[in-house]
Amino acid sequence: MMQPTHSSRRILLPVSNWFIVLTLFVALLLNLIPFGRLPGIPDWVALVLAFWCVHQPLKVGMAAGFVLGLAMDVADASVMGQHALAYVLLAFAAAGLSRRILWFPLAQQALHVLPMFLGMQVVMMLTRMLGGAEFPGLLWFLSSFTATLFWHPVTYVLLIPQFQSQDKDVNRPI
């Protein structure tokens, strides 16, 4: 009954706009950590953006993806528009599929999200390789898979404020 899916009977609290902005900002900060070329570091911004696009398609969408993408382009020293394009496409796919995805349990939700992340990376690779960059190696795609593994924990972390009950109970915080 605790499942954050449509098949659950649980009614969640409405989401706070500030919380959405805060989580996206924290994701951006996590992406700024300079891991260099270490493979398998998930793209936190893409993960959180996909989460909000699936859960709140009316509040977070392509405009947010575009702005976050520009920020990532500057932070990564990549070409302007590379992340923006990829995030816009990701937001479109996630928002479009949100009504389908939310009927599934979390593991199957993650399976829906994986092709979106992979597609996003393929878009980035195509735009850069058309511009004459080198192939980054297959290991680079590992970050999509690690991001998918984080779908389950991230769902619970980001829904904590909405899990709280309407009438406050000191003995039962969540």
């Binding site: 900060l29 700024l32 020293a77 302007m80």
Partner: protein, 306 residues
Amino acid sequence: MSVVGHAPPPFFRRGPAPLVRLVFFVSLSLVLLVADLRFHTLEWVRLAVATAAWPLQRATGMPIDAAGDMGAYLARQAKLLKENEELHRRQLETANLLLRQRHLEKENIRLRALHDMRARQPVEGRIAEILYATRDPFSRRVIIDKGIKHGIKEGQAVVDDIGVIGQVVRVFPLTSEVLLLTDKDQAIPVEVERNGLRAILAGAGAGAMELRFQAANTEVQVGDILVTSGLDGVYLPGLPVAKVVKVDRDSEYSFARITCLPLAGVERHGLVLVLSGRAELPPQPEDVKKPIEPPGRGGRTKKKTR
């Protein structure tokens, strides 16, 4: 859940349709991509955003720095002792050269004066530290901790204690971006130290470099050291760059495939030296637009035919 389950009645305004928004944002991104890749017109946007984000970036770098410091603190003493011994040995080896350098420089100046050549420009450098490698997996760049404030300019060469590692390509107020030699977009004019053969060395990705456009029978051997030729006016001549590791002379192609590995620790982190720019080279002669016409009749007939 707060997701709207059904298509809303038209009186709930939700802005343009998703497809329309998608087309709008995708075309905007494509415009940005083209503007940046083709025309390089977005550097000021990048400068502004990067400057604003600088404190955030440093803050997020802290855990990594702390981990590095911790690792260095816990380094084995044996390793440090060994390194110390190695450094002493190298110092002794180079002492001979260092002691004689002043003498040689003076002699060189005298000889150059005799030859009536321009004195070589004295080199100045600024020590910088590599902060981190950028996350972008498609190019090989590092960020160093000196920028506009410290007098770094675009195009300056960056070397470490062994040889060239790259070139400054973007300057921010407190940091700058160095494009490494192994990047596919980076090319450097070199010459073979053994015989003075001039060539262009370009990055080939995956940490290697390639000596481009050399004929299949070119005079390059495995083990040759390549040094900068200084023809570009950016790098000083004679800086070690790379070593030839493989020469592939396939008769199917007209060019030999020559693979090289950088001598300097291009993909390592540490202290580097940003060399000051060189004095301006004399301007290039203007392109000869028209072929020089031979005097006499030939010239006239050619003009008539035009």
